[in-house]
Point group: C2
DNA sequence: CCTCTTTGGATACCGCCACTATCCAAGCAT
DNA sequence: ATGCTTGGATAGTGGCGGTATCCAAAGAGG
């Protein structure tokens, strides 16, 4: 198929597809001659993947490129490949390590992982972007004077551990290595809004049960 | 305190504080004379709240204004006030209702709520932004050919229901009505990155347990 | 064969957003 | 008196995601 048909079948404007090609989010089509390039179903699928990450997942274009670069890199082992792809996802800005709240949040997060027995994650505390997000968010809460005990965080962590088991169980059902990696990345990017939506709906449900609609 | 001190104590540039004042995210200070305005600890706290929502929660400025407007509106009852504040949070773009994947995702989401017995949430299916997000994300997955059973979604939903109970339990510990609303909003905005970070860490932990670092 | 439309690629441009820099006149400090 | 600081108004900046314009080379129809 040619660019126009790719556009029609994906619902993405041709100018936007050209933009993605320029940005390296889509591999170039097979060049037939100077003014014609041929695309196939793989391009269509990739385009849908890109759109899902950008529109549903809200990722910036540069991040999508980085993530896909890692997903596509077959020279890496699965764990590294997946880790690299996930670590390219957008993160909160670097925290100010001189800030007392940040230092306290860091100690609190380390204690949390110890308490949970997450010894593997504990090894990553200095480098994992997810860990940094955790520290920044906890510090922000503390700065606003919220001082919950460690219990709440432990409970949330256990729920998320359960979610992670579901994630990985699902990834294991995929037949090929490439699909496993893609599924894991999509799981991180697209199930995020799903969990978020379910949580809000659950809040609405639970709130209505407890207090009615008043 | 004056603008310069507010800036120093919050770590936010004066020009940025002026911008927030213009945009209505901060109430104006008490005007002492033509060239001096006085701010108090409430302003500092509000400024930290705004920064947390923008930097950690990633909300656009216009959304923060909308959310705070609802939080501050004491004429509304708690449920309405909270609902209005949460519904102002940024959402995925409006789905195309003619798209077959979107229609199928809508049916699937309705079936999910029925299955879960979330009868209150079920009443909101046409209007809740969270519901719309759910539909859009599920449709995106389906469009990419992922066809899990309904079991996985049910499991995620039950986990999130548990998280929502924790959320509401924590909100109930707050003494005043105003704080309850603020806490609920912050819970939606700031605990989101916390849950996300915990999930990623749990994935790393669980992945290392299952497969090692290879 | 000769137009007339379509194609893909290069380039410039646009609108939005979160800030940021400049300017100014009114105070206050010495 | 004079020089620095203050707050407010206004204009400007940089990044980002996408769009519009232009062009020459292919094909399509007569």
């Amino acid at each position: 198929m040619r660019l126009a048909e790719l556009s029609r079948r994906s619902g993405v404007a041709t100018a936007t597809i050209k933009y993605y090609l320029r940005e390296g989010l889509l591999p170039p089509g097979r060049q037939v001659n100077a003014t014609t390039a041929e695309y196939d179903d793989e391009h269509l699928r990739r385009l849908r993947l890109v759109r899902a990450m950008i529109q549903v997942g809200g990722l910036p274009v540069a991040t999508v490129r980085e993530v896909l670069r890692n997903v596509d890199d077959e020279s890496l082992g699965r764990t590294i490949r997946l880790g690299a792809a996930l670590w390219a996802l957008p993160q909160v800005p670097e925290p100010d390590e001189d800030d007392e709240y940040v230092r306290a949040a860091r100690r609190e997060a380390e204690a949390l992982l110890d308490r949970l027995g997450w010894s593997n994650a504990r090894l990553l505390t200095t480098i994992s972007p997810a860990y940094r997000s955790l520290v920044v968010a906890v510090a922000a809460f503390r700065r606003l004077g919220y001082d919950w005990g460690s219990e709440l965080l432990v409970s949330y962590a256990e729920l998320m551990h359960e979610a992670a088991r579901l994630d990985l169980d699902f990834v294991e059902t995929r037949p090929s290595e490439a699909e496993k990696v893609e599924t894991a990345v999509l799981g991180a990017v697209l199930t995020e809004p799903i969990l978020q939506a379910l949580r809000r709906l659950a809040q609405e449900e639970e709130s209505a049960r407890r207090y009615g609609f008043e």
